[in-house]
Subunit: 231 residues, 4 copies
DNA sequence: GATGAATGAGGATTCATTCAT
DNA sequence: TATGAATGAATCCTCATTCAT
């Protein structure tokens, strides 16, 4: 019984060690060279194994990225819990932003490969499955938050705002990850301020009240450029 | 004198035709494949010349990107004039943003290769000379504007805000260029709104008065997250 | 004794199951891809075992082919009995041809891998041991038949005729195996007619008489095997 | 004028030399290893050039085979003229067979790669474009001859006979090419005898008369082609 | 200038085979 | 015995770059 249980596991043990070895190597290489310029051979070399070994676990580069993305998402969840939750959605805007951004910032600084995957390859049309999935997942998270917080937004509006917010977030994250120390803190602060001021006119700044509407906002100057909030 | 003058000119005439041929081809290929995945052979093929010819004008791939960047900057200036001017700096913030963003949006939609170059390769550390130059140029533009508009900002603050603004701008531009029709217009609107609300606390919304200070702003809610404006 | 006897037997039992599993897989893969393009990994995969297991029973790809050839020969004998017999040799030519061709056709249609092995790899000089063995076996069969039927043929003549007959047979078998239904029947008929007319002048058409000479020629039966000439 | 003529040619000169060098190398490698087992690297090595050079002239292995096939067909035509002609079709059968077989035998002995291409890869379903084309061309030749010689044959009959004849022809050619000296001559004789006797009932042995019908059968000439039967 | 041939290292991927478990 | 991990050379093919013409 235990034998039937363990035997397969033991075999997988080496394999799984190799897999994480390879994923770690991939993370490192993706960070150093970017996705496009990373080669499977380079990853294998970094992992200290032969190219053939890599291909025993992954059918191609894309699959490595997919798996790495999945692992990182899982790791982030394990470390910081789910961030796109209904509870978070109902927080005052500044706290909501903290609740999303802080874990992301922390995790991406510790695992810069995550950002590399989120950003994807530098070619417009050449999006990869993995990047797509990741992008969709995160975008859905943002969009869901918006829906919970401000149900009056139309789908189009919501998508627009979510895409913008996510794009801004990624771009700022890039600056954050690439800097260090005080500079990094400063960038993180800027990112939050930016998101706060961008989103305030759409979703209000206060906590969401019982009836599901966000508290009224005082950002009068923005309205002329903002989408109608539907209120 | 006339000999030394004219022969080179003729040669340069042919040469420059070749060069723009090649640059146009490069623009097209960079857009299709991204910088990293673009090959010199592909560019030469697209330009209808032999690889050898390409290397008669450019010592390597990087140089093509550098030159292309330069040309595009020049073209944009020819089409839209200088945008980072003192006059613009003194406009009311919304007009200032229009004055910068509109030409960029228009030009990048017409020349999507520009954005590809601005974004650079997908590798964090692997920044290329060309991308660096372009980045520095544009960042200086933004930074200069900030300096003119709000001289009280410290260098550090100015750099921070400029980097953030530029990063946001690039990210939004990406969304804009990749969309079409109404969607594109909507993204452009969002970008402007976003920049407006982000910058207002730092540089004020009104026109700059004679004494070089921006008009006072009323964006109270933002201050807690914003850098001190130096006022 | 019982230990030394039975354990190996049990082991062999499992082993032989594995072996036929592998051989069946090999047959399938050889058919799909041809001998040259077939890989041991592919065979193992098809058999549902690991590559290591395959190499526990066969030292290399060649050995698989050899064994498969042997098994198929044995299977064909089990299904159709020996065909290269003295009795057959003495039959009237058309019946002799039937006696040889029918089992081969039937068996090869059911086990197309057999033909793949008979044909061998597509390289002229690269004949494999397995193909050689099979080739020699079958050629000996034909040659033996000729010797029995027409002892007056010199060795050289006999070899020549045997090689030719066998080559024709293989080529026709290929057409037969690759076709279906009526077409297959038609090809089989053509093959027999072809062999009949080719061999008749050498070995006579009638049954072999007691004194070992074939009956004089007078290829009456041939027409019945030919397509109507339309005249 | 001559300059404008020669310049492009001179450039191509090196290239065309390379191309025939490569084709020759390919012929040699295909013969040694068979089509399937031949690698582009091996061909390049044999030609004494780098792999990259090969790919400047041929996009892949298949293309090499196609080109080589084309060249060989052309060369055979140049050396022996067209063989599938109406005049040949009307000859007495033995002369017709001579007219077809002799050039083929001679050419294939001199250029054994031709046969390698005609035979194609050893995989049943994996037929290559080049082999297909070659096969179709030659089969059409045979079929055309049959149509001219015996118009009363139905399409189905004609195809059947053509396929059979061609298959037999290929198989015999293989024996011929692989043997030498007297043996080769003997095989060639056998092949002709075999074809003669196979085809006689379908297309008659005599010359085709004015009204388009073949002379009545009465295969007198056949015996002269057969080995002495030892009777 | 322009060409296109040439290179050889490097890209992804597969293969026959061996080894540790 | 059976597994699956491991290997490294070999597969096809591309790339940035150079060179002879």
């Amino acid at each position: 019984m235990s034998e039937a249980d363990e035997r397969p596991r033991r075999r997988q043990a080496r394999g799984e060690r190799r897999i994480s070895q390879l994923l770690q190597a991939a993370a490192s290489v993706f960070c150093k060279l970017g996705y496009t310029a990373s080669s499977t051979n380079a990853i294998a070399r970094e992992a200290g194994v032969s190219p053939g070994t890599l291909y025993q676990f992954f059918p191609n580069k894309e699959a490595i990225a997919v798996e790495l993305g999945g692992q990182l998402v899982k790791q982030m969840e394990e470390a910081h819990g789910r961030v796109f939750t209904a509870e978070n959605a109902r927080l005052p805007l500044d706290q909501l932003i903290d609740a999303i951004a802080d874990p992301f910032v922390e995790f991406n600084c510790a695992n810069p490969a995550f950002l590399a995957l989120i950003k994807g390859p530098d070619a417009p049309g050449r999006v990869t499955e993995e990047h797509d999935t990741l992008h969709a997942t995160l975008l859905d998270g943002v969009s869901g938050l918006l829906a919970l917080r401000q149900p009056s937004l139309s789908t189009v509006e919501r998508t627009l705002i979510a895409e913008m917010s996510f794009a801004m977030f990624k771009a700022a994250l890039d600056l954050i990850v690439q800097s260090e120390g005080e500079e990094r803190t400063a960038y993180a602060g800027e990112m939050k301020g930016m998101l706060y001021r961008y989103l305030a006119p759409y979703v209000g700044t206060g906590p969401v009240t019982v009836d599901g509407t966000a508290a009224p906002v005082g950002a009068a100057g923005a309205t002329s450029r903002a989408l109608p909030t539907g209120s």
